[in-house]
């Protein structure tokens, strides 16, 4: 490709535009290193010195390791369940050609149209009666149902593209049922599983309303986003701590994004175009 003046100008303009676009994040980061006085007098200036005292304060105050573990438990429990129950059901529903199978498939994907606000009160009641609320495991479990419709939809579309002869030859070789699914079919679903994992990690890790209703009661079960929310609510004047809490809440997502960027963008495209 040739370097024409037009192209160079476009490149420069686009890079400047993207830096402007990310400027709010840059401001957040630099202000997390400032003292209260510095934040109040000049937001856009660089911090005078690089001290981590805001970080050590917030780390201890909100018990960061605990919150991080909570997020991790919720996300992992949620993900494993969504992937397992959705892939196995979608596979069976796609392979079975019967009226019942069609109806069940419709029942599975229909909830995608139900806004969460329409059911939030009753979801809370049900989870209380099943003793799922105020527990990270319970919340993770609840995500199985909330994540399943989209996952079933994406898996179902993908399984239809896998020739049924593969099932037959595996059956002839003596595998059937779970064995057939886990050693033959599931490995073939790897790319679509990546998509679902990415979409659901971003969603569950950052989710706000469901954790607010489900695990907001005790400091032992809160999530990063929840605590960032209450923290800023209480410390709206102490912006230096608020900004530090923001950075600490989003840092894990950004680190993951940097390492898995290629897969994330691909996964979003695959999920969105199929979904």
């Amino acid at each position: 490709m040739k370097w024409s003046p037009g192209r160079i100008i476009t490149e420069v303009v686009m890079v400047l535009l993207s830096l402007l676009f990310l400027y709010p994040l840059f401001l957040t980061i630099i202000n997390s290193f400032k003292s209260f006085g510095e934040v109040m007098t000049d937001v856009i200036a660089l911090p005078k010195s690089l001290t981590f005292s805001n970080y050590t304060y917030v780390w201890e105050f909100i018990n960061y390791p605990r919150l991080f573990m909570n997020n991790l438990v919720i996300t992992v429990v949620g993900l494993v369940g969504i992937v397992l129950i959705s892939s196995i059901a979608a596979y069976k529903l796609a392979r079975t050609k019967s009226k019942l199978s069609g109806i069940l498939y419709f029942i599975c994907i229909m909830p995608m149209l139900i806004p969460f606000q329409s059911i939030m009160l009753t979801v809370l009641q049900i989870s209380k009666s099943f003793h799922l609320s105020e527990s990270t495991w319970g919340l993770g479990l609840l995500y199985w149902g909330f994540g399943a419709p989209l996952a079933v939809f994406i898996y179902h579309g993908f399984v239809k593209g896998i020739p049924a002869e593969i099932d037959e030859s595996a059956t002839i070789d003596g595998a059937s049922g779970f064995r057939l699914f886990f050693s033959v079919i599931f490995p073939l679903l790897k790319s679509v599983t990546t998509t679902i994992v990415i979409i659901d990690v971003m969603w569950i890790w950052n989710d706000f309303l469901l954790p607010l209703l489900m695990v907001n009661g005790s400091p032992d079960t809160k999530t990063l986003t929840l605590v960032a929310y209450t923290f800023v609510g209480q410390y709206t004047s102490d912006w230096q701590y608020a900004m530090t809490a923001m950075v600490m809440a989003v840092l894990p997502s950004i680190v993951v994004f940097i390492f898995l960027q290629k897969y994330i963008v691909k996964g979003v495209v695959a999920g969105a175009v199929k979904g």
Partner: protein, 296 residues
């Protein structure tokens, strides 16, 4: 044909075993709560008294006839959704066209525009609140521009624009990625043929690229629609509904009625109206856009 009852039973049992877990989970997460929502929407209940009082369709009548909060939040949501859908899609298509030119910096640019999308909307709201409240002061002092002196969260019209702008900032990367993928499936030979036939850049865009981009537009408008109708998180942390309650969305209004005002029956009735609106609008939108798609 000889039928083996044992085998048929086994096939059925396996079908049940594979599909039961997902059906159970979806029932617990959606269908049972939804059925309960319908029941509560016909009652008056404060969440404390033992038994909800059955009032029939009174809640719905009251909401549609004389609820000023509902009317204003519905109007807010409609305005927001329309503007959000149009602006985010137009901007994303324009950006995607530039990024499809295969610049040296394309990978970096894509990542840069995508980053806000991986952040939680509540946190995005707070980051911008800080910038509007504190950052704009400093920027105003150092540039002298009067835009920074305006009260972006304290004036009703400006607060609306702020919410819209922040939501677009957060999510544009997502739509951008979808449009880039869509553009890459537009065959180059079609564009070349058009160039040979003497079509200019605009003609090529409107006659070739845009029609072939239709599937991406359908999916992007669908996502923008479903997300914007449910706007909640970003308002909660950015304006908290203010100033003077001018930035309440329907989702926020439902949340307030249910959990802050303890109007459980009334809130669920509103939630049900929201569901019907989402259902109708989504079906109409999909039908409308699907008809416009063409195959490459």
């Amino acid at each position: 044909m000889f039928k083996n009852p044992g085998k048929r039973w086994r096939v059925k049992a396996e079908f049940g075993l594979f599909t039961f877990p997902v059906l159970l989970c979806i029932a617990v997460a959606f269908y049972i709560p939804f059925a309960m929502t319908i029941r509560y929407s016909l009652t008056k209940w404060n969440g404390i008294s033992k038994n909800p009082v059955f009032v029939g369709l009174d809640n719905f009548k009251q909401i549609l006839m004389g609820d000023a909060n509902f009317a204003s939040s519905a109007w807010f949501t409609i305005k927001y959704a329309l503007l959000y859908i149009v602006i985010v899609n137009v901007l994303a298509i324009l950006l995607a066209l530039v990024l499809d030119m295969k610049l040296k910096t394309t990978p970096w640019l894509r990542a840069a525009f995508f980053i806000p999308y991986i952040l939680s909307l509540v946190i995005v709201g707070f980051i911008w609140k800080f910038i509007f409240m504190q950052g704009f002061n400093s920027l105003g002092e150092s540039t002298g521009w009067s835009v920074f002196a305006l009260s972006w969260l304290g004036t009703p019209g400006l607060a609306f624009i702020s919410i819209l702008a922040v939501s677009i900032w957060q999510s544009i990367g997502f739509y951008l990625v979808i449009y880039i993928a869509g553009l890459q499936s537009v065959p180059d030979d079609l564009k070349e043929a058009a160039t040979v036939d003497g079509a200019g850049a605009f003609r090529k865009f409107f006659s070739i690229t845009l029609p072939l981009l239709a599937p991406s537009i359908t999916i992007s408008v669908f996502m923008a629609l479903t997300n914007s109708i449910k706007v909640f998180d970003v308002i909660l942390s950015l304006t908290g509904g203010g100033p003077g309650g001018t930035t309440y969305s329907i989702a926020y209004d439902i949340y307030r009625d249910t959990f802050q005002n303890n109007l459980y029956g009334y809130g669920t009735a509103k939630a049900l109206i929201l569901f019907l609106a989402v259902l109708v609008v989504t079906i109409l939108q999909l039908a409308f856009f699907k008809r416009r798609e063409v195959e490459a």
